[in-house]
């Protein structure tokens, strides 16, 4: 029996109110433009509640959520162990004049857990700590230039944006150098061209850009990057904001067999409680100490308590192993459902953060149609971004997802007789 198609009347009503008082209604990655809601009427715009692997929108539609708030939901929405830890801390204190000792406990836990961490510095968003990482590299080396790999995303601070973005000055990005992903030769070349000027190499542990299949590091790539950084005094920054705690609790640099000088965490660190962390090697600790960098809410205690509970629970359940298994099970099921209906579904990246693309056309239009049909039936995928596995996702959820995917493939197939 065909599944019921979602209706979004209340979402639309809220959106009409939103655009009156909020720029673009919902801005950023959770909004319909940047979130690539194609077509927009297939997607919910506002949520009512969330639990485990699901969220419910304001129209009462339930979604198996493979975006996990774009990463923070790692154990399941409203995980009782995490939320209780945060709530208990809230009863004692949260945002106070003297920071809570929870800050120290969390730093100790991170130093014990993360392979390349000799210290930890806390902030709120991923961009806070990628920016601190760049400032640290510049302060340590007294150099200006930063090397990025194409397809990067390191936040929204002006230095992370591009020269053609509104509000960004040429001066903001004047010291950025862009090289292809997985190309250590290109790195060596720009080092030679900018001798003594490069402060840092910043990259995610693998290429998880949008609109393209995600690409894992080539054999020996990270080893060579590390060697080049060591040889030329360049700070190696691993932006683990997206992958952190999903691939390896010791850090994604550890997972891929190298050691970063600085590693940035956010998203999964506290299961949705707002905080981020920069961890790093001993030789950069005093440099960070000398940088003026702080924020009103950065040392709030409840997120620290949540992070401690999250990391301990991820250790207890071996989260990364679970995510890999669940992601693989899902990927195999989706690929089979696609093949049953004559579609070539490419699943790329790590299973814990899988990226999907239907390869039957080069425009992503078929893929967008299929994703829309899935969302209309209660499985929240996106058509442009990698997805996320969380610990609350059950095998039953995966089976239901594959059923929905199969139905969605049949709809797209029916709508495109030219593909027969």
């Amino acid at each position: 029996m065909a599944r019921e198609i979602n209706k979004y009347d209340k979402s639309r009503e809220w959106f009409k109110r939103a655009v009156e008082v909020i720029p673009s209604g919902v801005y950023g990655h959770l909004g319909p433009a940047e979130g690539c809601f194609i077509p927009v009427d297939a997607f919910p715009l506002f949520s009512e509640r969330a639990q485990g692997a699901y969220f419910w929108d304001v129209d009462g539609n339930r979604f198996i959520d493979y975006m996990c708030a774009y990463g923070p939901n790692v154990l399941g929405y409203g995980d009782p162990d995490v939320d209780n830890a945060a709530i208990e801390q809230l009863k004692k204190a949260n945002c106070t004049t003297s920071p809570s000792y929870k800050m120290v406990e969390l730093a100790e836990l991170l130093v014990d857990t993360v392979h390349s961490a000799d210290w930890a510095f806390f902030a709120k968003n991923g961009g806070d700590v990628t920016t601190l990482a760049i400032m640290t590299a510049r302060a340590a080396t007294h150099r200006k230039k930063i090397v990025f790999t194409k397809g990067f995303y390191h936040g929204v601070a002006p230095w992370t944006q591009k020269i053609d973005y509104p509000g960004v000055l040429p001066e903001d990005v004047a010291n950025n150098i862009y090289i292809p992903w997985n190309d250590a030769d290109a790195f060596e070349k720009v080092i030679a061209e900018n001798e003594g000027e490069i402060a840092a190499f910043i990259s995610t542990p693998y290429m998880h850009g949008n609109f393209v299949d995600n690409v894992l590091p080539a054999e020996g790539y990270w080893k060579r990057i590390r060697e080049l950084c060591d040889k030329h005094g360049i700070v190696l920054i691993c932006d683990d904001v997206r992958c952190g705690f999903r691939l390896d609790l010791a850090g994604s640099d550890h997972y891929f067999g190298f050691e970063a000088d600085l590693i940035c965490f956010c998203k999964a660190i506290a299961n949705g409680w707002n905080m981020s962390a920069l961890c790093g090697k001993e030789h950069l600790k005093s440099v960070v100490s000398g940088i003026t960098y702080t924020g009103s809410y950065w040392l709030s205690a409840a997120p620290f308590a949540a992070a401690i509970a999250t990391i301990n629970k991820l250790k207890a359940i071996d989260g990364p192993k679970m995510f890999k298994e669940k992601g693989t099970l899902l990927a195999e099921g989706l690929k089979a459902a696609a093949a049953n209906n004559g579609f070539d579904l490419i699943v790329s990246g790590e299973p814990a953060l899988f990226y999907l693309r239907i390869a039957n056309d080069d425009s992503l239009m078929l893929h967008q149609e299929w994703v829309a049909e899935c969302v209309k039936r209660g499985v929240f995928f996106t058509n442009h971004h990698n997805h996320f596995i969380n610990a609350a996702l059950t095998e039953e959820d995966i089976a239901e997802t594959i059923e929905v995917a199969e139905e969605a493939f049949k709809v797209v197939k029916r709508n495109h007789p030219e593909l027969q």
Partner: protein, 253 residues
Amino acid sequence: MTDAKTLAYINMYAVLGTLENLCELDPKASALLTNKKPISIAFDVKGGPVATITFKNGKCRMVDSILPDADIKIPFSSPEKFNGLIDGTVTPIPTKGFTKIPFLLKDFKKLTDLLSSYMRAEPEKLEDEEFFRISTSLMFYTICVAVAQIGNNDEIGKFSASHMVDGDIMISIADGPAATVRVRNHRLVTIKKAPENPRAVMEFSSIRLARDLFDGKVNAVACIGDGSIRMRGMISMVDNLNRILDRVGLYLA
């Protein structure tokens, strides 16, 4: 944040090039050319764009080269001088076709004045439905062609184009005109009709909405949210196209 050379390319192909569409859309324009001998004008900008516009049988066509048999040839020593022609501060001096100067001074001027009346329309004129339709359609073509010029010449526009994959982008108005921005090796060409197989699509739901966008009364991101702008396909192409579109206003303001 703009440069004279890019502006010259825009003035040539996006502004003067829209005379083609003016003659198709407004009978007053084609009437100026009907029952007259065909005539062609070559514009040769040193260090900038070149083009020949031919007026024939009530129609106008532009090619991006100097036709050797052009009736009138007007050289410009720099992009700045050519831009001066468009903003009315430079008087053109032909090196060929002195006997055709009356066409330049009368019919051609009437055509460009008519184009200006649509491009910089007075608010009360826009209340007339047909004027509004023609004015907005002409703006649409001008903007679409300007996109390619900025993507190929402006330093920041070239950066945006460098992130675009090959393929055709369709820009269209549901009850109005359509155009193709064709990307090949990060060079852009605008074709004033819809592509057969677009790789990316940006559709405006109505000509009214398109006008409001051109006039800066509504925001494209908000319009995507309410469904009045629909996009699909290779969104990275649309994304970079929009970054170039942001710069069109800088040049055409």
